[in-house]
Symmetry: C2
Subunit: 214 residues, 2 copies
């Protein structure tokens, strides 16, 4: 997975916790000064030793008795997570979910900019929300003309593998899949599934297992 | 976690794999007849023995030499995952992401119906997409009048804990959190975080670790 400032590899478990640290720290009012790893651990329900080790890998040891300067720690986390180097993304599938992601301005906080959207329906090429939606037939030409880092798939299940194949052919090496399809892609391509079905299952089951009442 | 048809507890690992089985099976053209656990295992990259054990817990042993009747297996998975018992949900936060989820019709496939949306901005009470957006001040009264199973949070980080507290107070016991905030809730309430920041980090880092070029 990621590397820290010294170029050392970070374990996947550490990489998974880093966004949680970052979220927590960003929720603290700015100008709050220093924070100890023990405070972070207790707020997130992690082990004290684990947090100390994680943060030491990202940002050194912190100041004795004071801990970490919050703004510095945020900067170190953002850099390690790759949020400070901008990535450009395209969306394929201009349905409601695709359009919502296209119009959502919260991703820039994480260094992601969605630069274009495409749809198989050639008629949907109107200006919408903040940009043009291109016909899918223009996709490969667009990718040749622009550097695209991440492909976002928001087409129905039945179309998703075709879109994935096209993205891979166009040199896209990171795919964010919002469709329920299980995609197959070469090992050199990273596929991240946003599995909303699993989330709904977890929530639904939890309701059925609880005793009725409160 | 979940229980199978005999009321036995299913391990969390099994529960996580079930939506993957279901996705895969739903991608097979209907009327395809039978499928073996070995075929499922190979398609999903799981171990053969693991898939056989998982499916046996959900749907018995299958027919010798033929395997499982696909439609029956889908029905058993949907039932175990809780997709067949409808859950009603409300959204709090009528920004772009909230509205996209409100207007998205793909959740019904998983037994989830979003019945109302609320926003702190009292002026946003127009009919939009498919329903009314109520002012947040009406939230608790709405929850008293309707059975609400799941609360969906799509407000900014700074508002999320307040909304979570309000949901808990109104008797909601399952919360789907799309905000980047880390929520604290009683143990009796299940919180599921849709951590898009983590997804972006994973994709961004993967790009930085790959050798340039193909």
């Amino acid at each position: 997975m990621g590397k820290n400032a010294c170029g050392n590899e970070l374990a996947p478990g550490v990489m998974r916790r880093l966004p949680c640290y970052l979220n927590y720290l960003k929720g603290i009012p700015s100008g709050s000064g220093y924070i100890s790893s023990a405070t972070v651990a207790s707020a997130l329900g992690y082990g004290d030793v684990q947090v100390r080790k994680d943060l030491a890998q990202i940002s050194g040891r912190g100041k004795p008795k004071m801990g970490y300067e919050i703004d510095n720690l945020i900067a170190a986390l953002e850099s390690t997570l790759g949020y400070t180097s901008y990535k450009s993304a395209v969306i394929v599938g201009a349905g409601k979910l695709g359009m919502a992601l296209y119009g959502y301005d919260g991703f820039s906080e994480y260094g992601l900019e969605i630069v274009a959207a495409f749809d198989a329906d050639e008629k949907i090429t109107r200006d919408i929300i903040r940009g043009t939606i291109y016909p899918a037939s223009y996709f490969s030409e667009y990718c040749r003309k622009h550097r695209i880092d991440i492909g976002i798939i928001t087409v129905p299940r039945s179309e998703a593998q075709k879109v994935c194949d096209e993205m891979v052919k166009c040199g896209i090496r990171a795919i964010w899949n919002f469709s329920p399809a299980i995609l197959s892609a070469p090992d050199s391509v990273t596929v991240r599934n946003e599995n909303m079905a699993e989330s709904i299952a977890v929530l639904s089951r939890s309701l059925e297992e609880m005793p009725a009442g409160k």
